[in-house]
């Protein structure tokens, strides 16, 4: 169904552009976008690689930080109470207003882009893990305690596996955000990457190229999402059993 409606949307788009003879710099037809993609292929690939690298670095860093913080906050209620409101507050700061500061502080290199990705990805992972650790059935914890299991054993045997589905849904959101984060970082100042190439193309009114870049960003984000989804299925075979019932 989704594929059919998407295809008819593309056809309508193509038809409208051709029928009204809309200029390509205003609104390129889907075929024109594909043509632009085919022509500039090596250049697109080069910028895509840069963006992919930044988003991967940022993602890994964000996940590592989020895991460390969430586990600490879960183990120490005092830290949780002290940091949780702060964590939420950081999310209300618009990225777009902080990113230029990164530029001032860290220059035009790789670091500020990676930092934007970290900022975007950190929150969904930390919060989803924190919430799912807190949501573990207290009767299960009591069962383990009655067996004489210590804090580490409870974490390893019950809390972490129980929190895994929640963590993975956080990872899925973070993964699909990570490309966007890198692009925003590049937008504000870079020498390479899809965001940089997009601003460049926009300024020269190479609109088909802009659309081609949007297409690449969308496909990359979806692919990222899919990768985590496949990992999810591999790590948690029991989840599939439940949905089969």
């Amino acid at each position: 169904m989704a594929a059919a409606s998407f295809c008819s949307f593309l056809l309508l788009w193509e038809g409208t552009v051709r029928f009204f003879k809309i200029e390509a710099w205003l609104l390129p037809a889907p075929t024109a976008v594909l043509a632009a993609l085919g022509e500039g292929w090596p250049l697109f690939w080069k910028h895509t690689f840069v963006t992919l690298y930044e988003s991967l670095m940022g993602f890994v860093l964000a996940v590592a930080l989020a895991l460390a913080l969430a586990l600490t906050m879960d183990a120490l209620p005092l830290v949780r109470r002290a940091l949780y409101p702060l964590l939420v507050t950081t999310q209300t700061i618009p990225i777009i207003s902080v990113a230029p500061l990164f530029l001032i502080w860290f220059g035009y290199g790789l670091l500020p882009k990676v930092l934007v990705v970290v900022l975007v990805c950190f929150f969904p992972v930390a919060v989803s893990l924190l919430e799912s650790l807190a949501a573990v059935d207290p009767d299960l914890i009591d069962l383990l305690r009655s067996m004489g299991a210590g804090r580490m054993a409870r974490l390893r045997l019950v809390k972490l596996p129980a929190a895994l589905p929640g963590l993975l849904s956080g990872l899925k959101i973070a993964a699909s955000y990570s490309i966007m984060g890198a692009v925003i970082g590049e937008w504000l100042g870079a020498q390479a990457g899809l965001g940089y190439y997009m601003t460049l193309s926009q300024r020269s009114f190479a609109t088909p190229r802009v659309f081609a870049i949007i297409l690449i960003i969308t496909v990359l984000s979806l692919a990222w999402f899919k990768v985590i989804e496949i990992a999810e299925r591999l790590i948690m075979p029991w989840q599939r059993l439940r949905s089969e019932e």
Binding site: S146, G148, L157, L241, R242
Partner: protein
């Protein structure tokens, strides 16, 4: 309150009278305001890891197979997974779970899941088991079947059992003795010896002695 070796004692009381709290205290999860827990003459107040505790919910871990679920207490005790599995496997036959070792809990019926939970409880501490309404979540037919199964299984093991239940028939069918608790604050209202002959069967449920005991319990509740 006391529980002798190999004895089966049931506790009946109105809901909210603190039966589960009593189990939390015996298992060492909670500290009592007053009183102490002695096991074999030793003070176990506030110490976990001595008696096994089975909840009304089966509390099986959905990400572990039945075999690995049942192994959980052995792993907590420090056995390797391989040793734990070897220890648990021989019991699957007696607990009616043979052939389901590699299944996940989601693939089992409610009755089988409770049996798995009971096996896990048994593997943790086979001498003293606390059963908190173990069949409370099952339908009436399955529950009756499970009661008879528990009767025949326990007759083969030397286990002391404390059972919390709402079900007068369940208490009389399974137990050697019954404690009846009062409303909050809970006191022991009645201690009743169930001197019905063993082995017990469906016929026990309609025996005049059983009916007389049942009437007595229902009157006081």
């Amino acid at each position: 309150m006391s529980l002798s070796e190999g004895e089966f004692v049931a506790i009946i009381g109105p809901s909210g009278c603190g039966k589960s709290t009593l189990f939390n205290i015996i298992s060492g999860l909670h500290l009592p305001d007053a009183g102490k827990v002695f096991i074999d003459g030793e003070d176990y107040t506030g110490r976990t890891g001595r008696v096994s505790y089975m909840h009304q919910k089966d509390l099986l871990l959905p990400w572990r197979t039945i075999l690995d679920n049942v192994c959980l207490p052995l792993i907590v005790k420090g056995l390797s997974l391989k040793e734990a599995r070897a220890r648990a496997r021989p019991h699957f036959e007696a607990f009616g779970l043979a052939g389901f070792e590699e299944h996940y809990p989601a693939q089992l019926s409610g009755g089988m899941r409770q049996r798995a939970a009971l096996l896990r409880t048994y593997l943790f501490a086979s001498d003293i088991m606390l059963l908190d309404e173990p069949f409370g979540a099952l339908d009436a037919l399955t529950r009756r079947k499970m009661q008879f199964w528990l009767l025949s299984t326990l007759s083969r093991y030397q286990t002391s059992v404390l059972l919390i239940t709402h079900d007068v028939e369940e208490a009389l069918l399974l137990a050697d003795r019954v404690y009846v608790l009062s409303e909050r604050p809970a006191r022991v209202k009645l201690e009743l010896k169930v001197d019905l002959p063993r082995p017990r069967s469906e016929k026990t449920l309609t025996a005049p002695a059983f009916v007389a005991l049942k009437r007595r319990l229902l009157e006081i509740l």
